[in-house]
């Protein structure tokens, strides 16, 4: 028989280093935490004194693997970073490559990407809120929210062919245009969203049990949030209205009318409420975008990155060679480096790309919000009760795929 397996982690402290404290290990596979992460906590009674967070259980060498594939081949990989909103990863990555190539996307593509980003944000926030409410025992709102999320997933599957990992973005455009009747169904789903979200508001907002578990738990000030690198809804819940869509508008956000909801205390309740309000703003934006969608092509007409039409590939030699070179060598991206960030549902999602002029990237680095948030997580957990770890961790919405890469 094998000897005992080596411990893959070295905890920052053991029972002997903490005076009289009980040291417990929570995770990496714990039924009440969504996400594979290990939290080692030193407890004084029920109170958490000190926390050591270990991530990396989902590390799969994403950045190393990227260096061995063409720029096109990375698109399915970036889907799997934040698998609750794969489209936003797609669009941020594609736009970063387009920036390096100096490609300007078509107007229809720009509006469609904006619309789908907001749609994905709704799905991501629904997942986050549903899961964290369920962990507090609220089964009915969980089912309401996940039902709407499932409508969205099915609806996106009608567009992209996949429920979760869409691979829908393309360098210089999108995989395909909207199918017939897609926008009509979108309108129906938004109507249902409003009906069910109103029920969730009614069930949760003034619910005594929910407030007791979340109010003033895991509280954070705006200055602390910036110091620890928090972005997205967590930063906004502290009262700082920082949103890349407003501050440095990209895609079509400059033309849209929307508010940036903020919280007051930066506690779990505020994070819940900021996400709920953000979904309303997203729906408001989607409705504007449905009216603004211009006609026209979705892909740029640029043979460096866009695949030629399939009928041409089969009928003329130039297109066949073009297609062949794009697949085997990858699009030629000029040498340079770029850092491009989008406002993902969890915070700033940045792609730092370095190209030396070939068809494969020299370096790909992802600035993932979840990883940075895990660095600040002890700040949110220490000083509260052991049982508060679950709602606080739920409200941070850590996604293993983008945290561990």
């Amino acid at each position: 028989m094998d000897t005992a397996l080596p411990n893959p982690i070295r905890p920052a402290f053991g029972p002997s280093t903490e005076d009289g404290a009980v040291v417990v290990s929570i995770g990496p596979s714990h039924p009440a935490t969504h996400g594979t992460i290990q939290v080692i906590a030193a407890l004084d009674g029920e109170k958490v004194q000190r926390v050591d967070v270990h991530c990396g259980y989902l590390h799969r060498g994403f950045e190393k693997e990227c260096e061995a594939h063409t720029w096109h081949n990375l698109i399915p990989y970036v889907d799997r970073l934040n698998y609750c909103s794969g489209l936003i990863n797609n669009f941020a990555y594609c736009e970063a490559v387009e920036k390096l190539m100096g490609v300007e996307m078509t107007p229809r593509c720009r509006y469609l990407r904006t619309l789908l980003s907001e749609y994905s944000r709704v799905a991501d926030h629904l997942t986050c809120i549903a899961a964290s409410l369920m962990e507090l025992g609220a089964m009915t709102p969980f089912l309401y929210l996940v039902m709407i999320r499932d409508y969205i997933y099915e609806h996106l599957a009608a567009l992209t062919g996949a429920r979760v990992t869409y691979t829908y973005g393309r360098i210089g455009g999108l995989a395909r245009d909207l199918p017939e009747g897609w926008l009509a169904r979108l309108g129906e789903i938004l109507g249902q969203y409003e009906m069910f979200i109103a029920r969730v508001h009614g069930l949760m907002d003034r619910n005594r049990i929910f407030i007791d578990r979340t109010r003033n738990i895991g509280a954070l000030t705006a200055a602390d949030a910036v110091h620890w690198g928090f972005t997205g809804p967590i930063l906004r819940s502290t009262g700082a209205p920082r949103d890349l869509r407003k501050d440095t508008p990209y895609l079509a956000y400059a033309e849209l009318d929307f508010d940036v909801p903020v919280g007051i205390n930066g506690d779990n309740y505020d994070r819940y409420y900021v996400r709920m309000r953000e979904m309303d703003e997203s729906v408001y934006m989607i409705r504007q975008l449905m009216d603004m969608l211009p006609p026209g092509p979705i892909n740029v007409d640029d043979r460096r990155c866009t695949f030629p039409d399939k009928t041409l590939v089969y009928s003329e030699i130039e297109s066949l060679i073009n297609h062949f070179k794009l697949v085997t060598d990858g699009p030629k991206v000029p040498a340079g480096e770029v850092y491009l960030a989008h406002e993902a549902p969890n915070g700033e999602l940045g792609f730092y790309l370095v190209s030396t002029g070939g068809g494969t990237p020299y370096k790909v680095h992802v600035r993932s919000p979840s990883f940075v948030h895990m660095g600040g997580l002890p700040r949110l957990l220490e000083g509260y009760q052991l049982a508060d770890i679950i709602p606080t961790f739920g409200s941070v919405n850590m996604i293993g795929g983008e945290c561990d890469r």
């Binding site: 070295r10 990396g56 370096k363 940075v372």
Partner: protein, 141 residues
Amino acid sequence: MNSPLPEILPECLAVPSGELLDTVGHLKWESGFDLLLDVTAVDWPGQVPRFEVVYHFYSTSTFRRVRVKVRVEEADPAVDSLVALFGCAHFMERECHDMYGIVFRGNPDLRPILLYEGFVGHPLRKDYPIRAEQPLVRYRK
């Protein structure tokens, strides 16, 4: 010290390794770059110095971005840590240490974070073979 690549976005500062803390302190306190977004490195085998440590900063008041680069030698891949200035530097520097073996002087905790205890080498260095395997649990025969 010129970067071998043309710059696109954002502004980039190349800083000698000894002046990093002063420069970043100035950026934070005088220029308002109060959010450290990212710490990573780029490996240029064959060049001297071999590694480029890359920082990205953002200002939550002016919404500007800046990139800071520090070159470090292969023989002594060490650079000053930013943990005293930015709390979030702790985890990002741990990751960079994991992946490239850059030592951040002053970061008290450079334990493996995405990799595991006992992992040999630094996988994002260009000389680490992509197919290398180091299973923690032996494969079944």
